[in-house]
């Protein structure tokens, strides 16, 4: 059969040569794309294929509430949410240019070989997304993994009543953290006029999700470098009210402002190591992802 398509004219490339040439061209296009990407301003380092009408959402607009809604909308449309985040390993890559693409049809989306069920599948393995997300299953046939997680329903079009279950259930100590501290830490956050998830994230990181043996939710230390021990975690929340950070973080409802305040004053930083605020950002992100799972489960 292949004989029919063989080009025997002088100078014609063999199949192997053509493949090698195309690979070389792809490499060159990728190199050119990288060179163009390097021209980005203000922290821009990425290039992508976009369609007119698509909306870019800068980080400062990514409030927990908005992200939660977007996550649900993505789940309802069978789109792994992380695949929409610039720079994620889960971005779909245009093979011709080697750049991320976000074109409209995600039917049958596969992600690095990991299958994502389409609506109507009877069962979805609890999966191995490396980032928090949701698996989709059809109504009524839900594997809760034996951990007590409750499926819930995302209403509205384009599908009717998609049942969603967390891809992984929260570990018990994470649920215990939310159970014990969402109330008091939300009250603290409200006093400070900051989003509760910022305070939950800071406390989650500093206390290893409430596992501090010293009941020290905020990692507070005394003048001799020793972390305080408190009789209860509530006492450590009260102690936090007595620190300058209770005042300094007041009203910092934007994540960047909140982080800046944690590390801005060279003589009074919450922590000075270079990765600290990135880790707190990660903890807040985890709270954004995991709190809804806990909320749905009780």
């Amino acid at each position: 059969m292949t004989e029919l398509f063989r080009n025997n004219s002088p100078g014609a490339l063999t199949r192997e040569q053509a493949v090698a040439l195309e690979k070389k061209r792809q490499k060159e296009r990728a190199r050119q794309a990288k060179a163009l990407a390097a021209q980005g301003r203000g922290g821009d380092t990425e290039m992508a294929h976009l369609t007119p009408g698509e909306i870019i959402l800068p980080e400062f607009l990514q409030t927990p509430e908005l992200l939660s809604l977007l996550r649900q909308a993505a789940a309802a449309n069978n789109i792994p949410f992380d695949s929409l985040r610039i720079g994620s390993r889960k971005n779909r890559i245009n093979p011709n240019a080697g750049l991320p693409e976000f074109e409209g049809s995600y039917d049958g989306f596969t992600d690095n070989g990991e299958s994502v069920a389409t609506i109507g599948s009877p069962y979805v393995d609890s999966g191995s997304f490396s980032s928090p997300g949701f698996d989709l299953v059809s109504g009524g046939q839900v594997d809760t993994g034996g951990g007590g997680g409750q499926p819930y329903v995302v209403p509205g079009p384009p599908t009717e009543g998609i049942t969603v279950t967390p891809k992984s259930l929260n570990p018990p100590h994470v649920n215990a953290f939310f159970r014990s501290y969402t109330g008091p830490l939300t009250a603290l956050a409200n006093e400070m006029k900051v989003p509760p998830n910022f305070i939950l994230g800071l406390a989650a990181h500093e206390s290893a999700w409430g596992q501090s043996k010293k009941n020290n939710l905020f990692g507070l230390s005394d003048a001799n470098e020793k972390p305080y021990s408190y009789p209860t975690n509530q006492a450590s929340i009260d102690a936090f009210r007595g620190t300058q950070f209770f005042n300094r973080l007041q009203g910092k409802s934007n994540l960047d402002d909140f982080m800046r305040e944690l590390g801005e004053d060279p003589n009074n930083m919450y922590n000075n190591h270079s990765g600290y605020t990135d880790l707190i950002r990660g903890a807040i992100d985890t709270v954004n992802n995991r709190l809804p799972i806990w909320e749905q489960g009780h």
């Binding site: 922290g43 990765g275 990135d278 992802n289």
Partner: protein
């Protein structure tokens, strides 16, 4: 009489401030300080054994946070007290850092995740400038390779980058120990050099020494 009243007032104020400090009302004053070795860091389950050749280990003393990183300065003549607060890693003297990581559950579950989420400064290319200090931008490529079980017998990955434009060389060992039972979460460990290129050989040597000095507490 007035003098006596004034003196009495001062005494009352001094006593009340002392009591407040004893009760934990005193604000911490974070600063760089040398760490005496061996150092047991319960929070992250590591012991840092004594280093040969008198290298200094500096960390933040008296901060609000219990999350400590440890900087080993390549130049043994530089004291911890000479480090400035609030500066980025690009402004620090050449160093090897021990950066232990206490899990934020379910973002990190594997070594790959750990490299993806936490190891970005050393393993991602291009690397955007950190928002909050840390390492500057770099478009230099990174080589990622297995580094055996260098960190406490855990599977370890090495990320190496040489950025001629910024005159910086970095090599990071990263390892992650997941806890499938989720009883304590996972723990990650990064040991990384960040130095001027001329010092890369010395940095590689120190990186190996510092990595060998880490032991699990239990």
């Amino acid at each position: 009489m007035r003098l006596a009243v004034l003196l009495g007032l001062f005494v009352v104020i001094w006593i009340s401030q002392t009591i407040a400090a004893d009760l934990g009302g005193k604000e911490p004053r974070p600063h760089w300080a040398p760490v005496e070795l061996p150092y047991d860091f319960d929070r992250n389950n590591i012991r840092i054994e004594k280093l040969p050749d008198g290298f200094r280990v500096c960390s933040i003393a008296n901060s609000y946070s219990s999350d400590l990183w440890f900087y080993v300065l390549l130049d043994r003549e530089i004291g911890c007290e000479n480090l400035k607060m609030g500066t980025s890693d690009d402004d620090k003297p050449d160093f090897v850092v021990i950066a232990p990581y206490l899990d934020t559950p379910l973002v990190v579950e594997t070594l790959d995740d750990y490299i993806d989420y936490v190891g970005k400064p050393y393993c991602k290319s291009p690397r955007p400038a950190s928002k909050d200090g840390g390492l500057g931008p770099s478009t230099a490529p990174v080589s990622i390779a297995s580094a055996g079980t260098r960190i406490m017998g855990l599977n370890t990955v090495a990320c190496t980058r040489e950025d001629v434009a910024y005159d910086r060389y970095s090599k990071a060992f990263l390892a992650y120990r997941p806890d499938p039972a989720y009883k304590n979460g996972g723990r990650g460990y990064t040991v990384a050099s960040y130095v001027h290129i001329k010092n890369k050989n010395a940095a590689d040597e120190l990186l190996e020494k510092v990595t060998s000095a880490l032991k699990p507490l239990n």
